[in-house]
């Protein structure tokens, strides 16, 4: 697991949208993507990508927890003794996740049911702990906020791409929260109705999530040669 620390922001007077801070936002989308490069937060990224709506809700939840956690830990960074920092981080993150879980159960009960334990597992999502350790503990709230947004978005786009691929090929549909599943192929095309098309059920099964992410990594690294690893 690479935990490269972004150099600490030390200058006092620096506008929130300086060049360095813009890099905090754009880097995690490609060069230091949390999933494909830093290898953080894989568990949830794979398990909930069967449908787009779950992926959207999950991305929003992680984004919320990341922003909250990064800003709170960054505000507390000078008060927390080094030895107990992990447990302090866990408590902060767990409280934020409880809020997310209660909100989901109240407003999106179906999706909350489908996500089941994976909402709780945001607590141990390494992407959150990883960014808290690597960034928020050493930086001021402003940059931490941007770093959280950047990494949250980097996580989200992989999730959305994987879930769109899996849902389109696996169920022949696209679903968004609040809209339900929209099937875009006419039913007469399917073999059961005398057509020629059949959904690829393999895409719904868990292993295909891994292979889809593997292929995304392949494409990304062949376009961005700097990321290629030694064997």
């Amino acid at each position: 697991m690479s935990t490269e620390t972004t150099p600490a922001v030390t200058q006092k007077k620096e506008s929130l949208f300086s060049k360095k801070n813009k890099k905090l936002l754009s880097d995690p989308l490609n060069d230091s993507n949390p999933i494909t490069v830093q290898v953080l937060g894989i568990c949830s990224a794979l398990a909930i990508t069967v449908q787009l709506q779950q992926a959207v809700i999950m991305s929003l939840s992680v984004l919320f927890v990341m922003i909250g956690g990064n800003v709170i830990i960054s505000l507390m960074r000078n008060m927390v003794p080094d030895r107990i920092r992990i447990i302090v981080q866990l408590v902060v993150v767990a409280s934020l996740v409880i809020i997310v879980d209660e909100v989901l159960q109240a407003f999106q009960p179906d999706i909350s049911e489908k996500l089941s334990v994976f909402v709780g597992l945001i607590i141990t999502n390494c992407i959150i702990m990883g960014r808290l350790e690597a960034f928020a503990l050493a930086n001021k709230p402003g940059p931490s906020f941007l770093d959280a947004i950047g990494n949250g978005m980097g996580y989200a786009w992989i999730l959305l791409v994987v879930s769109i691929v899996r849902e389109v090929f696996g169920s022949g549909a696209i679903s968004l929260p609040g809209m339900g599943q929209v099937k875009f192929l006419p039913t007469s095309w399917f073999i059961s109705e005398g057509g020629l098309y059949e959904n690829n059920n393999l895409m719904i099964l868990p292993p295909m999530a891994l292979i889809t992410v593997g292929i995304i990594i392949w494409i990304q690294r062949s376009r961005n040669q700097a990321l290629i690893e030694e064997n």
Binding site: M1, T36, V39, L40, G41, I42, C43, S44, L46, A47, I86, I87, L90, V91, A94, S95, V97, I98, D101, E102, S116, V117, G120, L121, I123, T124, N125, C126, M129, L205, P206, P207, M208, A209, L210, I211, V213, G214, I215, I217, W218, I219, Q220, R221, S222, Q225, I228, E229, E230, N231
Partner: protein, 204 residues
Amino acid sequence: MEYFNIFVKGIFIENMIFAYFLGMCSYLAVSKTVKTANGLGLAVIFVLGITVPINYLLENYVLKEGALAWLSPDYANVDLGFLSFIMFIAVIASMVQLVEMIVEKFAPALYGALGIFLPLIAVNCSILGGALFMQDRQYPSIGEATVFGLGSGVGWWIAIVAIAAIREKIRYSHVPAPLRGLGITFIITGLMGIAFMSFMGIEI
């Protein structure tokens, strides 16, 4: 028989890695050599075997709706379920600390083997996942919960040792450059997952 069933199910059919992707971060990061993978795998079995029963007791005597009735009948309607995330993670983090200290004191050889991996485990999703699945599936007794924890741990251990062995070998083959390292590991894990799916539907 019921125990054996839960154990085998935890290892093969509901494998933490291949069916639920739990603990993937450490699975990918620590699987470069078989030796370290083995150490981390054993530590996961150990910690899951301890934390799942403790969280089971916590769930059934403190958190569940009506669980506090043993204190006094007045508390029969109290439902502390919303606290379960924070309680579970607190139990796991403190148990890992405690286990680390105990092992260091009484079994230095084991500490040498597991030592550096124990702190990593507090944030391994498979441990919290084990506790949450235990809560979800409502096992009838603590024995079954323990066996579930051990079975899941063994399944995780098998998965990480297998991928580490494959990664040691694949170093000598010609993998396309952009796939090297992470990419090929993902794809191999996917293929192993498909293989493990053949265990699905087995009833013992």
